[in-house]
């Protein structure tokens, strides 16, 4: 009697815990649902470069395409990966396994992106990356389930780095975010500097995320005697580095290798004016980009779309177009087939114009070198860039055979 009451108690305690567990879902819906998951940094240093504006842009693509969807609806869910590869990989795994997510988009932070790309391959689903930079996504670590849409470290090095070297900046010191992205950006830029007979005097890598004080690295850079300070970091870190460089009266030229318009806005033109940077999208580039921006702004009034955001829009659009062609069952059956089809269909959208996706997953669009306007040159809100140079896809991106992607047949 006594014992059975105790055992009952145990059963109840454990049972209560179990019934609270994440249960497997049974769903019965009339129209098939395609699910897109926006996975990015929503609270950390990359929250403005990606964050909720990426979600807005993805949803905008879905809303615009709704009338053309052939017999399905699209649902968008989002999560914050906190810039931790393990968190990102676990969410991706659970999304693909449990939530019925067919495609994950954005994923800034190269470390997280590489992990998510691995899960996509494992589960044979789709990942369209817009937010991460590492050129390894279409190089040594490429796989048949991913598309790298917007930009990469090779293209940044070529454009911003190339312009700096051409202007006489032949000796560099790097401040590098200590993870996949920072190191790849540093090494891609170093290749370019060496090819131009320049030299790298040294580099400091700092823990990411969590570093807010860059003063000691700036001092090391200053005492190295290099002419150019190469910032192999992004978002909030780049903003802090540039601000503090000013505080400490740094006399070197600054090459902010990855900078978005959102960062320029945070810095202000009096600090950022004159810097060179590279994006594959600018809101004020042409009538179509302005029209796109006009549609986005009501939902994201304080944050104009940058190339990462635009990539989420364009990538989602292309994904849905491909599903129209392949049928709604295709993404559930094989993500690899979807990605193969995405590569076969030319891309066209308001942000990147006409383009294509290469065998290795590389999106082939123009890249633009901009110079940030001085305060006096800016005529209005977010009027920040002067176009310096346009690179056609063939020049903008790493040659197909140079990346070492196993998908590319020699």
């Amino acid at each position: 009697m006594e014992i059975s009451r105790r055992s009952l108690l145990n059963t109840v305690a454990t049972g209560a815990a179990v019934s609270a567990l994440p249960l497997r879902r049974a769903r019965a819906q009339a129209k098939p649902v395609i699910k897109i998951g926006v996975l990015n940094d929503q609270s950390g240093p990359y929250r403005d470069t990606g964050g909720t504006t990426s979600v807005v842009c993805t949803k905008q693509a879905v809303a615009e395409f709704a009338s053309q969807m052939s017999g399905y609806t699209v649902e968008v869910i989002t999560a914050d990966h906190q810039n931790k590869p393990d968190v990102g990989a676990a969410i991706a795994r659970q999304w693909y396994d449990q939530e019925g997510v067919d495609m994950i988009i954005d994923v800034p932070n190269s470390g997280v992106a590489l992990a998510v790309a691995g899960v996509a391959k494992d589960k044979n689903k789709v990942h369209i990356n817009s937010g991460a930079a590492t050129s390894d996504l279409t190089g040594a670590q490429c796989n048949a389930n991913i598309v790298h849409w917007t930009y990469d470290t090779w293209m940044l090095a070529q454009s911003t780095g190339g312009a700096t070297v051409k202007a006489g900046g032949d000796s560099w010191y790097f401040i590098t975010a200590d993870y996949a992205f920072g190191h790849k950006l540093e090494s891609d830029t170093t290749d370019l500097i060496k090819a131009a007979k320049g030299s790298v005097k040294g580099s400091s890598s700092y823990p990411f995320p969590g570093t807010t004080d860059f003063s000691s690295f700036l001092l090391q850079a200053q005492s190295s005697g290099a002419k150019v300070l190469g910032l192999a970091n992004a978002g909030g870190d780049t903003i802090n580095s540039i601000k503090q460089a000013k505080e400490f009266g740094l006399t070197m030229d600054i090459a902010a290798l990855l900078m978005f318009i959102t960062d320029v806005n945070a810095l202000g033109l009096d600090v950022a004016g004159g810097l060179h940077l590279t994006e594959s999208f600018y809101w004020d580039l042409n009538d179509k980009t302005r029209a796109f921006t006009k549609r986005i702004l009501p939902q994201s009034p304080d944050n104009y779309p940058n190339m990462d955001h635009a990539g989420c829009y364009a990538g989602s659009l292309h994904f849905m177009k491909t599903i129209n062609k392949m049928g709604v069952a295709a993404p559930k059956a094989s993500g690899r087939d979807i990605v193969t089809a995405m590569k076969a269909i030319p891309t066209e959208d308001d942000c990147f114009g006409k383009g294509s996706i290469r065998e290795d997953g590389r999106g082939m669009f123009n890249s633009y070198l901009f110079q940030v306007k001085k305060p006096a040159e800016s005529k209005g809100k977010w009027d920040y860039y002067k176009l310096v140079q346009t690179s056609e896809p063939a020049q903008a991106w790493r040659p197909l055979n140079a990346g070492g992607c196993p998908l590319v047949k020699a």
């Binding site: 014992i3 009451r5 105790r6 055992s7 108690l9 145990n10 059963t11 305690a13 454990t14 815990a17 179990v18 609270a20 567990l21 994440p22 249960l23 497997r24 609270s43 999560a79 914050d80 931790k84 590869p85 393990d86 968190v87 990989a89 676990a90 795994r93 659970q94 396994d97 449990q98 190269s110 470390g111 590489l114 992990a115 691995g118 899960v119 494992d122 200590d178 993870y179 996949a180 823990p207 990411f208």
Partner: protein
């Protein structure tokens, strides 16, 4: 003896636990269940020290995290079978535990905790610097190895049974340790260390052995986790991770057999449901800490046990 020293209520609780493990994957996401089992085993290993020797190691994540790394590395680069990966995680963690433990047990109380914390931070530093850990990126895309060299674990349910077996073996091993003559000496040390010394026990040897056993199991638990998730990363070596395992024990009930398991279930479930809502996980964990300290210091199982006068 068949009962292994379990009392009747404990046997019933054990049966319930085994039944839940067997049935749960039909209703619950198996990866989630595996995560709970990994952390439950880690918590049990920690409990061996805090609950039965009275040692608060504030850096136990170092051993768990090292287990993660080693097992992931062995699976990815050496292609070892799963059981060897997990074992290797445990062995390396235990080797570290032997060295660090020998240093730490020279001091008592809060100083012991501080040294374990410092050594864990040192380990964290090594993990950020050594090439094999992959720094901030971690060891990614670890392929699930084969069990015994030929059984594929790529299906979630296949690896589930392996994790379940390792968890139960670890759990039972800890139970045996606690109830062995060795465990009795540990409890004597917890209650009154000078007296244990005066009775002629070489207290330091006992403490060290307990420390090594605990770190071995923690390392094996970590080794399983990285095989399940296919990734080993810095998150598992941080002092915050060490703090979380203290919380798990405090909540479940330190020095109870089933407490750490219940604690792990509650903490992971909360995390699962709250993680989409920003930092509510952190806030809730904080509230649990405060509530445990202020209202029920014996933890869930401790309080239940006291209420119904059974040792669980």
């Amino acid at each position: 003896m068949f009962s292994l020293g379990f009392t009747r209520p404990q046997l019933i609780a054990l049966a319930v636990m085994v039944a839940v493990i067997a049935i749960a994957p039909m209703a619950v996401y198996p990866v989630f269940m595996m995560k709970i089992m990994c952390f439950a085993l880690f918590a049990c290993a920690f409990n061996l020290l805090i609950g039965y020797v009275g040692l608060l190691s504030f850096g136990h994540a170092a051993y768990f995290g090292m287990g993660c790394y080693l097992s992931a590395y062995a699976a990815k680069h050496w292609g070892f079978p799963a059981e060897i990966c997990v074992l290797l995680g445990g062995i390396v963690a235990a080797a570290m535990g032997a060295v660090f433990g020998a240093i730490a047990i020279k001091r008592q109380g809060i100083y012991f905790s501080m040294i374990t914390l410092a050594l864990a931070q040192f380990t964290y530093f090594l993990c950020t610097q050594m090439a094999f850990t992959g720094g901030e990126d971690g060891i990614q895309n670890v392929p699930r190895p084969f069990l015994l060299g030929f059984l594929s674990l790529s299906n979630d349910m296949a690896i589930y049974w392996m994790v379940a077996v390792v968890f139960l073996v670890g759990f039972l091993a800890i139970f045996r340790i606690i109830h062995s003559p060795f465990g009795q000496v540990l409890k004597a040390i917890r209650e009154n260390e000078p007296r244990a010394i005066s009775l002629g026990y070489r207290v330091d040897d006992y403490k060290l052995l307990a420390f090594v056993l605990s770190t071995f199991i923690a390392g094996a638990a970590g080794g399983m986790k990285s095989l399940v998730f296919g990734i080993a990363s810095l998150s598992d070596v941080t002092w915050q991770a060490s703090g979380q395992i203290v919380l798990t024990n405090l909540l479940g009930g330190m020095g109870t057999v089933f407490g750490p398991v219940v604690g792990a279930v509650i903490i992971n479930t909360l995390e699962f449901y709250l993680s989409p809502f920003g930092s509510w996980v952190t806030i809730t964990q904080g509230l649990i800490f405060v509530a445990c300290v202020m209202v029920f210091r014996r933890g869930v199982i401790g309080e239940l046990g006291a209420r119904f006068k059974v040792a669980l």
